[in-house]
Amino acid sequence: MRAPFDLPKHDSLKTGSAKMMTALFVLALLTMLAVCFGNRKVVFLLSLATLTAGIFWFNHHITDPLKLNF
């Protein structure tokens, strides 16, 4: 039995540049909490950060080579 956090090695982990997709949702949650706490400037800042991180991820996926076999 492997340890719970003994994940399969991923390229990004090998290179030490681990990118966590969960972080995008963490950013969105922080933005919503800022809305609830009533800090409008922080909401705009976090919204921008979330959108920028999302676009970064989108760019990561649209530049993947396609795996089509015909």
Partner: protein
């Protein structure tokens, strides 16, 4: 408030597909969920601070981002004779979830455009300060926050500390226990 509530429906539907139908969301699917949460954030700002064009801008930018992701996924699977099957996941009412995603994002942009025609509801005479939230508004905001927290939990279970796999088939963290 209708926009905030309305955007929760596809998010709950996506969880239905994930847990009841047993289909895992791909990275592009997760990005579309994120864009829907962005749409909800703009709508929540209107509820919390009053109606402002800048809040609608947050919604529109998120919807454009989501539409771009949906379009990309539609184009990925539109190739005829793809040996990997027609589309990702099961269709719902004849369309795949990413096609519905594009429809929802375009409809959001359309609805926001219509709302901007109605100038009377813009309250520019007072500063955009936090307003007390009624119980229904609090309930809707709590639902959106709950869905976001659920996405954090399930994405972490599915992908761990690494980028999500292209076609996830299991919860990585659970499969290692």
């Amino acid at each position: 408030m209708l926009l905030t509530t309305g955007i929760c429906i596809p998010l709950i539907g996506a969880y239905w597909i994930q847990f009841i139908e047993g289909e895992f969301p791909c990275p592009l699917c997760l990005l579309q969920r994120l864009a829907m949460l962005g749409v909800a954030i703009g709508a929540m700002m209107n509820l919390r601070f009053g109606v402002r064009t800048s809040h609608y801008a947050v919604t529109i930018f998120s919807a454009i981002f989501g539409a771009a992701v949906s379009t990309r996924q539609i184009l990925l699977h539109v190739v005829p004779g793809n040996p990997n099957g027609a589309g990702y996941g099961s269709p719902v009412f004849g369309w795949h979830l990413y096609t519905w995603g594009l429809v929802i994002f375009m409809a959001t942009i359309g609805v926001v455009g219509l709302m901007m025609f109605y100038e009377k509801h813009f309250d520019l005479s007072t500063p955009a300060s936090p307003r007390p939230m009624s119980r229904p508004v609090m309930a809707v905001c709590a639902l959106v926050i709950f869905l976001t927290a659920a996405n954090i939990f399930t994405t972490f279970l599915m992908c761990g500390l690494a980028p999500c796999p292209d076609s996830p088939e299991e919860y990585l963290l659970l499969s290692n226990v």
